[in-house]
Amino acid sequence: MRIKISGLLVMAVCLVALIPNSWAGNKKIMTTRAAKVLAERAIVESIYGLKVRSTEEVQDMIAANFSGKTESKTAATVKGIKIEEVTYDSSKDIAKATASIVLDTFTNIDGQEMNLGGKTFRRVAFATSTPSQAGPIQALRAAELDAYKQLAKRVVGFTLESQTTVENYILTSDIVKSKVLATMYMAEVTEYGWDAEGDAFVKMVLNVKEVGDIIGLDVIDEQEIIEVEGMGAQTDDFMQAQQH
């Protein structure tokens, strides 16, 4: 009798353990699909390019009076993007997709014909369907946009407007605004990740000489390669500090 009961218990446990698999649903499919789409967007941003608009404003040099906004936009029809690899972490519901494309010629966001000579572009993206897991992924995208903004500032420059008070030869910055609006293309991500505190970083490189050769223009810059590092946070402790 005891053996029968324990046998039934084992069967019940096995059944319970199997239920989640049979109820897997569409979460994995949705997450991996989202990662693929985001990897494709990253490829479009790399080859076709994107518009970057960023504004920053601070009053009285107090961090609490700071406001900054960076926006990006891109839209293009690209054929031939391959999804090389998709991995899915079922415990966190996070998917990672790697997309690549090989191109000979392509017209970028500025309408310039680029002679790419069979160059391979490869980008990675992450996605999740679970909001509680989105923090690190959002931080990574924020870091990516920050890197694009920094590249735009380096390549086309930016405008600075300020109202400053001078008292007894001492400068006190009252209002400082900076604005950048530019199109970026051919930027490559060389490194990305998260530090021990959970903040994301994205290292981005723009080979100025290579871009010049590809679009057939002499781009004058002392530095052949412009390298920037974008940062992104997953917690808004700045707003929390403002509220206290």
């Binding site: 518009k51 001078v166 400068l171 910055s173 199109t183 505190e197 903040d199």
Partner: protein, 135 residues
């Protein structure tokens, strides 16, 4: 094993919970506050750099400035597009329509100003078509 729960049996789970908390603390320490503060410091430094390029900066007064910042290699270039200096006495008499504003608007070459205007017109963030290239 008599099924009783004593103090020592709770020690291990308590230790595990404590260690888990310690591990999760660094994640909670991250955030954008430090990034914002760094950004504010950079803007302040840059503004001071721009202001110091203005000739005949008064010892007291308000300065309004608009500048274009570009970078070639490691060298930063500042083109002052517009400067307006309001002296303290003019602020006092502002209500009487008397102002002593010194304006310097001819600092930047004309062609650069034109390119600025062109850039503003061409990059319309809401349009699908634009034509702007780096530099």
């Amino acid at each position: 094993m008599n099924g009783k729960i004593d103090g020592s049996s709770l020690l291990i789970p308590a230790l595990i919970a404590g260690l888990s908390l310690l591990i999760s603390v660094p994640v909670a320490l991250g955030g954008n506050k430090e990034m914002v503060e760094k950004n504010v410091r950079e803007l302040d430094t840059l503004n001071r750099e721009v202001i110091q390029q203005i000739p005949e900066l008064p010892s007291d007064g308000h300065v309004r400035v608009k500048a274009r910042i570009t970078q070639t290699g490691v060298k930063r270039e500042i083109d002052i597009l517009h400067t307006e200096i309001i002296l303290p006495d003019s602020v006092d008499t502002a209500t009487t329509t008397s102002t002593s504003v010194i304006e310097q608007t001819e600092v930047i070459p004309t062609e650069t100003t034109e390119s600025q205007e062109t850039r503003k017109q061409e990059i319309n963030f809401n349009d699908h078509h634009q034509k702007v290239s780096p530099n």
